[in-house]
């Protein structure tokens, strides 16, 4: 065995997981595909990071450096410029296939693996936008990389589809760089970004936000020449006669992020159709024993602070898994999202694990000013919590005490709007 633990991905999640998994008696390898640690934070040069975790406002690169500083003196192996290609598991041993220019395509084995490989951006193809397919249409994060990491502007007249945070941040960033952002269209009747980003990135720069609108046509032979947006009805179908045209050379897409767990050709584990990530228990262990997942590779977070918090827990669990002789019999209870809840994490509770309480993270599927979250087990209501200003863009958390859980029936959570 080469290692006790291999961590895949050295962004905020991998770095936090490494910190908490560290033990002088463990051999740990962290693999990062880029030339330095930090992940997507490196290109997020705006501020607003760290308010929860460090109690101060940092830029993305500053936040990344805080985490990296905390691990740089640890006696672990860190491989940058190295990409994981595949992971296999046989007889309790993980074999991780990776590639770099020093050792080529090679294998490393370990007892446990943490998947902290982040997420990728949903593309035009995945949402099936109609129209021509010229250049000048790209995910907002790609444009952010070109601008902040490489120093290239991708266009001068911009339209943005989707009001996710990256789209909003890029609306401001492109404006500051001299481009004209003509508008942001959002198919939902509300924005999918944090409120502070709507205010600071759109309102402050007089960039219009078209709610309940989507792209209905794209024109351009070689480079994008213009787009048309249309209003949508409750079933998200475009309404004829509501078209607005914009002459733009660039369309940025901020239409969702998807956990990037596709390096696995050989190993399969249970995934959730709701998060597109792994299904985990409260220790962040997947359906494959010894395989843990955290950060945006598990589900997409609003704030990096929560990524750090979650990944520290995952790292701690992985360490416990390696150091303790782990029992193989689990007592799993399902945790399910019910009315008005998009998804809940963890999706399983292992009652055989020692714990006093478990933190449930979840998102509502609707906007509600006032309401109540209700947690059920079978017919039994076991916990309620009043909530204000609930929206899908902001993750909610509730702690659930172990002694409230009496049976092995699934636990469900729902949201009720109150007047």
């Amino acid at each position: 065995m080469n290692y006790d633990l291999i961590i895949i991905g050295g962004g905020a999640a991998g770095v936090a997981a490494l910190k908490s998994a560290y033990d002088p008696n463990l051999k740990i390898l962290l693999v990062e595909r880029e030339n330095r640690l930090g992940g997507i934070l490196k290109q997020c040069i705006h501020n607003g990071f760290g308010v929860h975790h460090y109690k101060e406002e940092l830029t993305g690169p500053e936040y990344a450096v805080r985490g990296i500083d905390a691990i740089k003196t640890l006696d672990v192996d860190i491989l940058t410029d190295t990409t994981v290609i595949d992971v296999e598991k046989t007889n309790g041993t993980f074999t991780v296939r990776m590639s770099n220019t020093t050792d080529g395509d090679h294998l490393r084995t370990s007892k446990a693996v943490i998947l902290s490989s982040g997420c990728y951006e949903r593309t035009r193809g995945a949402i099936q936008l109609p129209g021509d397919r010229p250049s000048g249409i790209m995910p907002a994060g790609s444009a952010q990389r070109y601008l902040n990491m490489e120093g290239y502007l991708v266009g001068k007249k911009i339209f943005i589809l989707g009001s996710g945070d990256i789209g909003l941040i890029m609306a401001r960033r492109m404006t500051l760089e001299g481009a004209k952002v003509l508008g942001v269209a959002e198919i939902m009747p509300y924005s999918n970004g944090l409120t502070r980003n709507i205010v600071q990135c759109l309102h402050d720069f007089d960039i219009p936000l078209y709610l309940s609108h989507t792209i209905s046509d794209i024109r351009g032979k070689s480079r994008l020449e213009g787009i048309t947006i249309s209003e949508v009805d409750e079933t998200f179908q475009t309404i004829e006669g509501t078209e607005k045209h914009f002459d733009v050379d660039t369309l940025l897409l901020s239409v969702g992020l998807i956990p990037d767990i596709n390096m696995f050709e050989s190993l399969s584990f249970e995934t959730s159709r709701k998060t597109n990530g792994a299904i985990v228990d409260q220790t962040y262990q997947t359906s494959v024993e010894g395989l843990f997942a955290c950060g945006n590779a598990l589900h997409v977070h609003d704030l990096v602070d929560f990524v750090t918090e979650e990944s520290e827990k995952a790292g701690k669990s992985a360490k416990a898994f390696i150091m303790e002789n782990h029992k193989k019999n689990k007592k799993l209870i399902d945790i399910e999202a019910s009315d008005n809840i998009g998804y809940v994490l963890p999706q399983k509770l292992d009652m055989d694990q020692p714990f006093d309480e478990v933190e449930l993270s979840f998102r509502a599927t609707m906007k509600g000013d006032k309401g109540v979250f209700v947690i059920h087990q079978g017919d039994q209501e076991i916990l309620t919590k009043k909530a204000r200003f609930v929206m899908p863009a902001e993750m909610e958390k509730i702690s659930l005490k172990k002694d409230l859980i009496d049976t092995t029936e699934p636990i469900t959570i729902r949201f009720e709007v109150t007047q």
């Binding site: 590639s99 220019t101 990728y120 995945a126 099936q128 109609p130 250049s135 790209m138």
Partner: protein
């Protein structure tokens, strides 16, 4: 210099003819108006090598389809072509469909298709468990294959070039004249070339090219669009055969086609349009394809779509392939109306043009040094562990993974840029190496691909194109360099 032949159009048909022609001692030039080979109908289609069950017996389509299907088996090894020998099922859902299926069964046998059989519902579901359970009968067409049309076209082009063909990309024919028995072909860039003969393989533009030299062309091109969904390769095995619905008066219908690299294509619809180059996707087209396809299989994972595209078939008013020397102008050869089964028939079309229409054997000497074999790009991830070690030792750049979805290395991309038909655009690299063809559609690797193209071709990164001419991705630098 005077060419023996100018071939207009570097699609699968033009390049296949060129390769066949280069077996003889001829001077040949191929002109292509686009900046790469295989940019239109040859690229965007269902990728099927049909068995030959569909064309009416006695037609050129029937003959060349069945011959072409056989030739693919030979070319698989010679030209290093990917072939998925998965067979096809034509599916019936009613008594009426059953009757139609039986006529196709007889027609397939008459056309010389081997191995055809009619299977009952039970056997059909055993073969393809996710087939819509309303199936009543299927026609088994085991010689049906799937290929990678891009690789086929590139293979023909590269092998023809290895054997002396001259290829000029970004070269659009503007005018053709015939003076003193010689054709003068002038281009929009102002160049002009002399040739004894012309082979018109310009796809949807064959009519436009013919009109430059003929008064009355016996066919009119009617471009016919087809839209498709591409489903991620990670969802493999939900359908394993190519599935055709039973054809109706409206046409061949919407198919489900597993691809050689693991994706599944869902499509196409069939709509006539005037513009041969309009390849936009429409909401109505895609929703029609979606609705129709669920008749074949009601569990298609549309949540795993990674891309949509449109292809335009070069259909014509003539009820068959139109492959003939012009009645008006000697030495001007039409290869027109090549819609389905054009890809399947392409190798046979090439032999038919060179052996029967031109009768090259009579006019030219056969080359004794014809290079038969063509080697495709050997991608690192396709190698054995042993070969990988050696390839990495020679080129450590194989250790740098650029496209993580399709596992394409820096060396793979460098080879694609520097091949005999160079890939010099982002999509050109995608066609050759599949970098950017996966789940994230280039979101992760595009910036690296741009830098590699710029480095290899000594270009500024802002001058690297996405695909078409001037389809730049980066517009300007934001920082002033000292």
């Amino acid at each position: 210099m005077t060419y023996d032949y100018i071939i207009i159009g570097a699609g699968v048909v033009g390049t296949a003819i060129a390769r066949e022609l280069m077996k003889y001692q001829v001077n040949a030039l191929m002109v292509e108006k686009e900046n790469d080979v295989c940019n239109h109908a040859s690229l965007a289609n269902s990728a099927i090598v049909h068995s030959g069950h569909d064309p009416k017996p006695g037609t050129l389509k029937a003959k060349l389809n069945v011959e072409g299907n056989n030739l693919y088996e030979k070319l698989e090894n010679t030209l290093d072509l990917p072939l998925l020998k998965n067979g096809a099922l034509m599916v019936a859902f009613s008594e009426e469909d059953n009757k139609t299926l039986k006529t196709y069964y007889n027609q397939a046998i008459e056309n010389g298709v081997e191995g055809v059989a009619l299977l009952n519902k039970e056997d059909a579901l055993k073969r393809e468990p996710n087939l819509n359970p309303k199936v009543t009968m299927v026609l088994d067409l085991p010689t049906t294959k799937v290929t990678y049309p891009w690789e086929v076209t590139l293979a023909f082009a590269e092998n023809a070039i290895d054997n002396g063909l001259e290829l000029k990309k970004s070269t659009e024919v503007k005018n053709i004249e015939k003076i003193d028995g010689l054709f003068i072909v002038t281009t929009t860039k102002g160049e002009s070339f002399k040739t004894h003969s012309i082979i018109n393989a310009a796809g949807a533009f064959t009519g436009k090219i013919a009109a430059m030299i003929e008064k009355n062309t016996p066919y009119t091109i009617k471009p016919r669009r087809g839209e498709y969904f591409v489903i991620d390769r990670h969802v493999k095995g939900f359908i394993n055969h190519t599935l055709y619905p039973t054809p109706t008066a409206l046409g061949k219908g919407v198919l489900i086609v597993p691809q050689v690299h693991g994706e599944t294509l869902i499509g196409p619809n069939s709509v006539f349009q005037d513009d041969p180059e309009n390849i936009d996707n429409t909401k109505s087209g895609l929703s029609y394809v979606r609705k129709e396809s669920t008749k074949l299989c009601d569990s298609i994972p549309f949540n795993k779509v990674i891309r949509t595209f449109t292809g335009v078939r070069a259909s014509s008013t003539y009820d068959d392939f139109y492959i003939k020397e012009s009645d008006e102008v000697k030495g001007f050869i039409h290869v027109a109306g090549i819609d389905s089964p054009g890809l399947s028939a392409a190798p046979a079309i090439a032999e038919y043009v060179v052996n029967t229409i031109i009768n090259a054997e009579q006019s030219f000497t056969k080359k004794t040094d014809f290079i038969e074999k063509r080697h495709g790009l050997k991608l690192f991830h396709q190698m054995t562990d042993e070969d990988k070690k050696e390839a990495f030792r020679v080129e450590p750049r194989h250790g740098n993974l650029i496209c993580k979805c399709e596992k394409i290395t820096e060396a793979d991309i460098v080879h694609a840029v520097n091949s005999s038909v160079p890939g010099d655009t982002v999509k050109g690299i995608k066609k050759r190496s599949r970098a950017g063809a996966g789940l994230c559609q280039g979101g992760y690797c595009e910036h690296n691909v741009i830098h590699l193209i710029a480095r290899e071709l000594k270009k500024d990164v802002t001058k690297v194109e996405y695909y078409d001419k001037e389809s730049y991705i980066l517009q300007s630098e934001t920082k002033v360099k000292k």
